[in-house]
Symmetry: C2
Subunit: 238 residues, 2 copies
Amino acid sequence: MANQPEHIVKSYSDDLRRLRELVARMGGLAERQVADAAYVLTRRDATAAAEVAARDAPIDGLEREVESFCVRLLALRAPMAADLRFIVAAMKISQELERIGDYARNVAKRVMVIAQQPNLVGLGTFEALSQLVQRNLKDVIDALLNEDAEACRRVWASDVAVDDIYNGLFRQLLTHMMEDPRNITAATHMHFIAKNFERIGDHATNIAETVYFSITGQNLPDERPKVEAPGDLSPSDA
Amino acid sequence: MANQPEHIVKSYSDDLRRLRELVARMGGLAERQVADAAYVLTRRDATAAAEVAARDAPIDGLEREVESFCVRLLALRAPMAADLRFIVAAMKISQELERIGDYARNVAKRVMVIAQQPNLVGLGTFEALSQLVQRNLKDVIDALLNEDAEACRRVWASDVAVDDIYNGLFRQLLTHMMEDPRNITAATHMHFIAKNFERIGDHATNIAETVYFSITGQNLPDERPKVEAPGDLSPSDA
């Protein structure tokens, strides 16, 4: 056995562990990107933002690595039941994490444009929004590693708080634009930044659903709790 | 044989054909949602918009059907090579189509809010944007059915025109907001509508990449052509 190439000696359970580690590493990189995007926004640091914006390639590379590893496992191991669910989940999660990386990069790119603007409002609220989203992302990656279905349900339900903060920010930015037309360009970019964080939260929720299904074989309910703004469309909804 | 249950009699190639049809049907529903969202926007029809916004469930249902059908195929048929690539592609494409349905619904929800506003600008440009996106979506679903790798490459390259129109619209809406603060709320929703169409275009491009890989076993290049606005960040990029 000792002289056989590694890929033959390796056991199936080693392969599955390696897949879990690959997805966790991708999750860690995505967390890092989101944290850095939030950091450069609150510090208004255009130089650091340019570095964050340029740092998307490793996540994209890992997405391809996860997919081709999954395809190899499917072809060579003919997995069944929970293992098969896990492999399908890993592919879906890597797609979600790749999107999260995109959104974080987009935040960083917009920060490059607006960092020097004098009148940026709501930076404290942005910090609250991004921290909540970061915590959900971290919790859902932990849930994947610990196979913790209850943690998935918690993340899935807490997205309502993300929507709540986002809706407040939406109104604050509108008011700011109306007060002075010179605020419009920067505030428009900030609308999109807020939307990017809100979408990162959505993707964390999607991952929570996927991990939950992978662990339990059951779906979470179709509709998750949603904040509806009184009397009109909730902006987070649209 | 005649007395055996259908799922045993059915051949593997029937299963693969059925999977292709499921994805094509999902693609048709997504095309329809995007077309209807564009229609209610240009007609400013809030009532029809509410109907479009309520009509998302069939696409979500089909996504689950595609996934569970794929998982069954993987478990029962242990597919190899091109068949395995196609099954993995079907799962990825169904995830993209579900997102496209979400974006179309989001457009419809925002139309419900702004339909009665007096000063909506750029509706003609929105029509051009949505038609280009619709054509790309249609072409890429056709490419999937016809296994046409060249058509995938064409869709993938033509997304540059989508970005171009989107960038013009971004500037037009900013100017409109600066001219009169009363335009700000509606124009902000229109910014997000434009972004939704632009993202639908991105997802059509992602599908083109996935179909191309499924057919050829090769990836399209990492970077596709991008329009950079002169002197600053291209808004479509961020």
